[in-house]
């Protein structure tokens, strides 16, 4: 489920702003940290995220879950330090209370590619300084207390076991496993892999990945450029320099398979797809424009029309591209009453096949562009959305004018572009399928 949520999040993020006057300022610190900043004084709030190449694809072999545990434990305690500042140790309770006292909100997490922490704080000086100092210390000086590690592992294992009973999670894990073979994207935390994680693993993972020279800082809110520069320094002053990370294995083509897993739920959950697209791929725009017509446009997509409107087979049916650092998946999915699984699968495959063969109609292309371009303003109309966008631009090295040129790039897409891009990235006979709930 985690991956599914992130997939959605990142897909939407990728479709960022343009046209509007969103001025992104960007600079690199002497320590190598990259900063993206949008100055906005309309509400007295500052939003910050700090991210690293520390997602689950960096999990040590056999220890899936280490990236997630490292991230989750950042605020379980910070150690005493002497450089660059003399600062006392703090317990988890002290950190939490200190954040609550200034009414800041801490977020973050670990996805497939990135991991980090975020902060929403009042922009008034006292609150801002206190919360940013805490965030800096959490990122740089986590103490990873042993007893809390045991507790967090137990909770994570309990959550994994819970997930193993849920058809959606079972399907999702099997899907990534089928698509990615031996690549780290195929890995997910299991009871043994979490049990194998030790405190030393967390310390080593943190030291190798939470480093100044790979930090990406995104900020939007009620501060000046000068203040933003000082904050970026403050956020990374405690972080070490990291050695280069090993290169990741390539995503290799895996033969298409179909896996059916029995489950007593009333509905079957179906996912079908294949690895498809990296961030920054020039096919990105034709793919998102085309996918709007195929299965991304909610009520107006072909999949919804065929599966839901015409046949009443499912409440939710969708498709999306999830661009990642390495080829992320194209996914089409639905849930349906078990007895009608095969019928639904056939409709999905036929719909995808027809789209691959013919591409969108002129009316569909126009509808897709109207929606994507007309709705662009909604993608950047608050701080949270802008933060998500600029964090992705920073992490994936997308051009700084990515949002400014977004609508123009959508506008340019032709039917031929969509068809060619879909045919380059997808093939029905390479798509793997998982069905949970209808074993036969």
């Amino acid at each position: 489920m985690k991956r599914l949520l992130l997939a959605f999040l990142f897909t939407f993020v990728s479709a960022g702003p343009a046209g509007a006057a969103l001025k992104i300022q960007s600079w690199t610190l002497a320590n190598g940290a990259k900063v993206l900043f949008v100055e906005n004084h309309t509400i007295p709030v500052l939003d910050i995220s700090v991210e690293f190449d520390a997602g689950s694809r960096r999990d040590p072999k056999g220890k899936a879950g280490a990236a997630e545990l490292t991230n989750a434990m950042l605020a379980r305690g910070v150690r005493e330090s002497t450089t660059p500042y003399a600062e006392p140790a703090m317990t988890e309770a002290q950190i939490s209370d200190a954040i609550a006292d200034v009414a800041a909100q801490r977020g973050g997490g670990a996805g497939g590619d990135r991991a980090g922490a975020s902060l929403r704080t009042l922009s008034s000086r006292a609150e801002r300084d206190a919360s940013i100092t805490l965030l800096s210390r959490i990122l740089a000086h986590p103490s990873f207390p042993d007893n809390f590690l045991e507790r967090d592992k137990a909770r994570m294992i309990s959550a994994i076991k819970e997930d193993e009973t849920k058809p959606e999670s079972i399907a999702n894990k099997a899907f990534w496993r089928l698509l990615y073979g031996s690549h780290p994207y195929s890995q997910y935390p299991t009871v043994p892999s979490v049990e194998a994680v030790t405190r030393d693993d967390l310390v080593a993972f943190h030291a190798a990945h939470y480093v100044a020279n790979r930090a990406v800082i995104a900020m939007i809110g009620d501060i000046t450029r000068t203040e933003a520069e000082a904050i970026a320094q403050q956020l990374t002053a405690r972080l070490p320099q990291g050695a280069p990370l090993p290169s990741m294995p390539l995503v290799e083509a895996v033969p298409a398979t179909e896996e059916r897993i029995p489950h007593p739920a009333t509905q079957a959950h179906l996912l079908t797809g294949m690895p498809a697209i990296v961030r920054g791929d020039p096919d990105y725009f034709p793919l998102i424009v085309g996918n709007y017509s195929l299965g991304g446009g909610g009520f107006v997509s072909r999949l919804t029309r065929e599966v839901r409107d015409k046949r009443g087979l499912s409440y939710s049916v969708y498709s999306y591209f999830n661009p990642m650092a390495q080829p992320g998946p194209f996914t089409a999915g639905l849930q349906t009453q078990k007895e009608q699984t095969d019928e639904a699968l056939k409709v999905v495959r036929d719909t995808v096949a027809a789209f691959l063969r013919d591409g969108p109609t002129p009316q569909e292309l126009k509808a897709a562009k109207d929606n994507l371009i007309g709705g662009f303003a909604l993608r950047i109309d608050n701080n949270r959305k802008i933060l998500d966008n600029i964090a992705a631009i920073g992490f994936y090295n997308l051009p700084l004018d990515y949002l400014d040129t977004w609508t123009a790039k959508v506008e340019k897409v032709t039917i031929a572009d969509v068809k060619e891009a879909f045919q380059r990235k997808l093939a029905l006979d390479k798509m793997s399928t998982v069905i949970v709930g209808n074993a036969k």
Binding site: A104, L122, A265, F299, D309, Y318, Q337, L378
Partner: protein, 473 residues
């Protein structure tokens, strides 16, 4: 309010990852240190001649608008045999009018670049679009059209009711925790219609007809039973003019009054067990407590709200600190008090026990935390921390015009004026440690308590035959 993470989840026409949090508070009175320029404008309220209320909150941060039509008709207005009809009709609202073909509503909103959805809860049904500001009139015209001119076609209904049943399977039948809440409500409320799930019982859905949906539409969909909420980059006077133009001509209807169906006093603890495929057990305790009916007078409700925040309003609040972090008897523990509702409300304590703890033990441990407050009270520091977050929450929520519109609508549907939103904050700020202690002493006995427990079944085991659901307790 703060940290009330246990919330009734409304049903949506369309699955999407909706992460909005309905912050129940909205502010115009800001902290003293903020520059005047950053203060938000007051929402303005108008009444059309046909009785439709229009509430507009201008917010010029970005060139977008949230447009919502709320109908005061939810699952609590349904009758036995046709439970779920409010939600089924919500689905049918997308299936065509005298001038629009089925699905055309959504096509038009999409062509405008809009995002849309609809939601049904116990108390109300709502429809919304988020759009670039120049498109407001067009979506308003669409909403006005389907308020008056909906066409309910038998064939469309027979297909859509299957979708509705799939939605129920997906959200409830196959989900252990929602099954527990369904059983909890059916047990805690015997006479009051909160007894019934928003989705309706499956048998009622199977037997629902297009006439049921039609009767519902004719009964409740009227301008005098609706509230328009618009937030964003608009001029309030212009919004009023547009509302007059598009909704002003829709005639008023005689809208029935849902009888009070007051829940009789509970005379002793009630327990219900749900067996479902799951790994971890789960327990939720529901105490009948007062709702917020009068912002000025209902001090106990405000005190209960603060109590919930002290138990579960921030990371290191009491339940998490003690049961999850220190004693490690729970994998999660929470408290919830959604006090803004048309009907009776519950104060909830819930949790998943850690390995080695039973649900019976966790039940006692959760209650012990309330008892500790009843005996020893709360510290000034905790109160201060909770209030600091209330004040900041007023500012944070201004990042989202959508969230602000949801908040206004939720208040109005419960019969509380949106103009009281600030007063709630003032009243919460005034809650004392003694008041918190007093409500902890008063409302957490056995007699008005319902406990619902999830007993996990292995997924390999064949599912228990579905019992008639109305008889769960």
């Amino acid at each position: 309010m703060l940290g009330h993470r246990i919330k009734p989840v409304p049903y949506f026409i369309r699955a999407e990852i909706m992460k909005f949090r309905i912050a129940l508070l909205l502010s115009v009175s800001l902290l003293g240190f903020l520059p005047v320029a950053t203060q938000a404008a007051d929402a303005q309220e108008f009444m059309l001649k046909n009785g439709m209320k229009v509430i507009v909150k201008e917010d010029h941060r970005a060139p977008t608008v949230a447009h919502m039509i709320w109908y005061k008709a939810g699952s609590m207005d349904e009758h036995n045999g046709t439970t779920g009809v409010a939600h089924a009709l919500e689905h049918m609202m997308f299936k065509g009018t005298r001038t629009l073909k089925p699905g055309e509503f959504s096509q038009r909103v999409a062509a405008l670049g809009g995002r849309e959805n609809a939601f049904t809860s116990k108390d109300y049904t709502g429809y919304y679009q988020q759009i670039e500001k120049s498109k407001l009139e067009k979506v308003m015209a669409l909403e006005a059209d389907r308020m008056a001119n909906l066409v309910l076609d038998k064939e469309e209904f027979s297909r859509e009711i299957r979708v509705v049943m799939e939605e129920r399977r997906w959200r409830t039948e196959d989900q252990p925790i929602p099954l527990v809440y369904e059983a909890l409500n059916a047990t805690a409320f015997i006479a009051h219609p909160y007894h019934h799930p928003i989705a309706g019982w499956m048998s009622d859905l199977q037997n629902m007809t297009v006439q049921d949906a039609k009767a519902w539409y004719e009964r409740w969909y009227a301008p005098n039973n609706a509230v328009m909420v618009v937030t964003g980059d608009v001029d309030a006077k212009q919004v009023l003019a547009l509302a007059e133009k598009h909704f002003g001509k829709i005639p008023r209807k005689a809208v029935p009054v849902t009888k009070p169906q007051e829940e009789p006093p509970q005379r002793g603890i009630r327990r219900v067990t749900v067996k479902a495929p799951a790994e971890n057990p789960y327990v939720v305790l529901a105490f009948k407590v007062p709702a917020l009916r009068d912002v000025e007078k209902d001090d106990e409700s405000h005190a209960l709200d603060v109590l919930a925040a002290i138990l579960d309003g921030y990371d290191n609040a009491r339940l998490n600190a003690k049961l999850v972090r220190t004693d490690r008897v729970a994998n999660s523990a929470g408290a919830g008090y959604a006090n803004i509702a048309r009907g009776p409300v519950l104060f909830l304590l819930d949790g998943t026990p850690a390995a080695g703890t039973t649900t019976e033990q966790l039940e006692k441990l959760l209650r012990a935390e309330v008892t500790r407050i009843a005996n020893e009270g709360v510290s000034e520091q905790e109160l201060k921390r909770v209030k600091a977050q209330l004040i900041a929450g007023q500012i944070y929520k201004r990042d989202s015009i959508f969230g602000q519109a949801m908040e206004i609508g939720t208040m109005e549907m419960a019969g509380l004026s949106h103009t009281k939103i600030d007063r709630i904050i003032d009243k919460l700020k005034g809650v004392t440690a003694e008041q918190v202690k007093a409500v902890a002493q008063k409302y957490f006995g056995d007699d008005a308590l319902t406990v619902a427990t999830l007993v996990p079944l292995p997924i390999t085991e064949k599912k228990a035959p579905a019992a008639p659901k109305g008889l769960r307790h």
